[in-house]
């Protein structure tokens, strides 16, 4: 809208009468007249406070973008190291250690938002949310992963390199179940959700963190499944306002996966 009684066409930019149904130049539908009967607010120069707030929003999203690029870079380095013949378990453990440091740095930089999530558990309600979340994931996994296999996609066994290298069982559970649960929750449901929440709505934040969580697992076949897992973990975090129930669900899910691999079961 440029003036009272005029509306700019979104298609060609030409000004039309606010009471025209469509643009007289290109035919694009124009907004209804009842909704645009009020005079236009004139453009004003933003105040320094407004500019500062806008810049802060950009910086916070920029932090998430940098985290995404750093994590992607690490995963790429891990891929290359494996291709160059580096011992897989050693490379994985080093990458896990670096990601843990990145997660701690992120949590520290957003401590004002992350600390409240770490100082409460939420009692029985949170425990119930964790159990429900894990049950949803197990049911979903029982349907999704066999379907993906049936479509011809190959899925990676996360515990296989550790078993081949002869690592003890407790270390396999620790490195594949507990460690990712703690640090991924701290990063995605802690830092990423806190930062995205400053610019996005609660629902958008939930969806974007789940998408980033899925993408950083680098496998087209597991994008939909890990997006769903991210949604479940994000919902648990939003409902309980704590990171611990999400950590329990995440660790439980990973433990189920490792246990199935060790037992030679086809699930997930």
């Amino acid at each position: 809208m440029t003036d009272l009684g005029e509306v700019r066409c979104r298609g060609c930019g030409v000004r039309n009468s606010a009471y025209s149904k469509e643009c007289l130049t290109c035919g694009t539908l124009l907004p209804a007249p009842s909704a645009i009967a009020e005079p236009v607010a004139p453009a004003a120069v933003p105040s320094p406070e407004e500019l500062h707030a806008a810049a802060l929003g950009g910086q916070r999203i920029g932090g998430v973008a940098r985290l995404f690029l750093v994590t992607l870079g690490l995963v790429v380095a891990l891929f290359i190291a494996n291709r160059c013949g580096a011992p897989e378990v050693i490379a994985e453990t080093v990458a896990d250690a670096v990601l843990a440091l990145v997660a701690l740095a992120c949590a520290f930089s957003a401590r004002a938002e992350v600390l409240p999530l770490l100082t409460r558990f939420g009692g029985w309600r949170s425990l119930a949310a964790a159990v429900a979340g894990l049950a949803v994931l197990v049911v979903f996994g029982a349907v999704y992963f066999p379907s993906v296999r049936w479509l011809g996609m190959q899925l990676i066994a996360i515990s296989e390199p550790y078993r081949e290298a002869g690592w003890p069982l407790w270390s396999i559970y620790l490195l594949n179940s507990v460690v990712p649960a703690v640090f991924e929750e701290l990063t995605f449901r802690g830092y990423v959700m806190a930062r995205l929440g400053t610019l996005l709505t609660a629902r958008e934040t939930l969806l974007v963190q789940a998408a980033l969580f899925a993408l950083l697992h680098l496998g087209v076949a597991i994008y939909p499944s890990h997006f769903f897992i991210g949604l479940v973990l994000g919902t648990v975090r939003q409902r309980t306002r704590s990171l611990y129930p999400g950590m329990l669900v995440h660790a439980g899910w990973n433990a189920v996966v490792v246990w199935c691999e060790i037992a030679g079961l086809g699930f997930p």
Partner: protein
């Protein structure tokens, strides 16, 4: 900056930009209301108008990428099928339980390798199909909420290109012009929608 508003069609309360419901009667703000608010905002501010154009271009490219993935799925399936049939001919000379030379440090029997090779065209088809569906969903989302949708599309496209480059370094140069245009438009769309969202937050009362 003064708030851009419209009157509610039901209760005549003032609906501000970025509101989810009418503050007077609590009816949900419709897509048409959002479009009117956006047109007003962009019409009153040249920079906002330019940002809007970049955001719409970014959203359009998410749809273009969905179509490209959908079109490339059957083409790549057919190309992979011909490679697979050649590989199967080479493997025909071995018995199922015969152990072959290690590939990337892993030892396979001829039977295992045959099963893996047979799967490859379907993997390519399903992978491209999943990417087409994901981009399509993001394109639909970009029409309502451009910032999160374009951000996800940019991240998805980046990851896909990085994974392709790792698996097959020769793929970096394939379709490089389209890739660069897609990255450039998506990045501009992302930064423009980020600026637009920040500006919209300034428009929101009480923010």
């Amino acid at each position: 900056m003064d708030a851009v508003t419209i009157p509610c069609g039901i209760c005549q309360s003032t609906i501000a930009m970025g509101a989810v419901t009418c503050p007077g009667c609590a009816r949900p703000v419709t897509d048409q209301d959002r479009a009117v608010l956006r047109v007003r905002f962009e019409g009153a501010d040249w920079q906002a108008h330019e940002r809007g154009k970049q955001v719409r271009a970014g959203a359009k490219w998410v749809g273009v990428l969905a179509i490209l993935f959908a079109v490339s799925a059957p083409i790549m399936f057919a190309m992979q099928e011909s490679t697979t049939s050649q590989a199967m001919q080479n493997l025909a000379q071995f018995h199922d339980d015969q152990v072959l030379q290690p590939i990337d440090g892993k030892v396979y029997t001829a039977g295992e390798l045959r099963r893996l090779v047979e799967r490859e065209p379907y993997q390519v088809l399903v992978a491209n199909g999943i990417l087409a569906v994901l981009m399509g969903v993001l394109w639909l989302w970009a029409r309502r909420a451009p910032l999160p949708a374009i951000a996800c599309a940019l991240a998805l496209y980046l990851v896909v290109q990085v994974v392709s480059a790792i698996l097959d370094p020769s793929s970096i140069m394939k379709g490089i012009v389209i890739k660069l245009i897609a990255f450039s438009v998506l990045y501009k769309g992302f930064t423009a929608s980020l600026a637009a969202r920040s500006a919209m937050q300034q428009q929101r009362p009480g923010v």
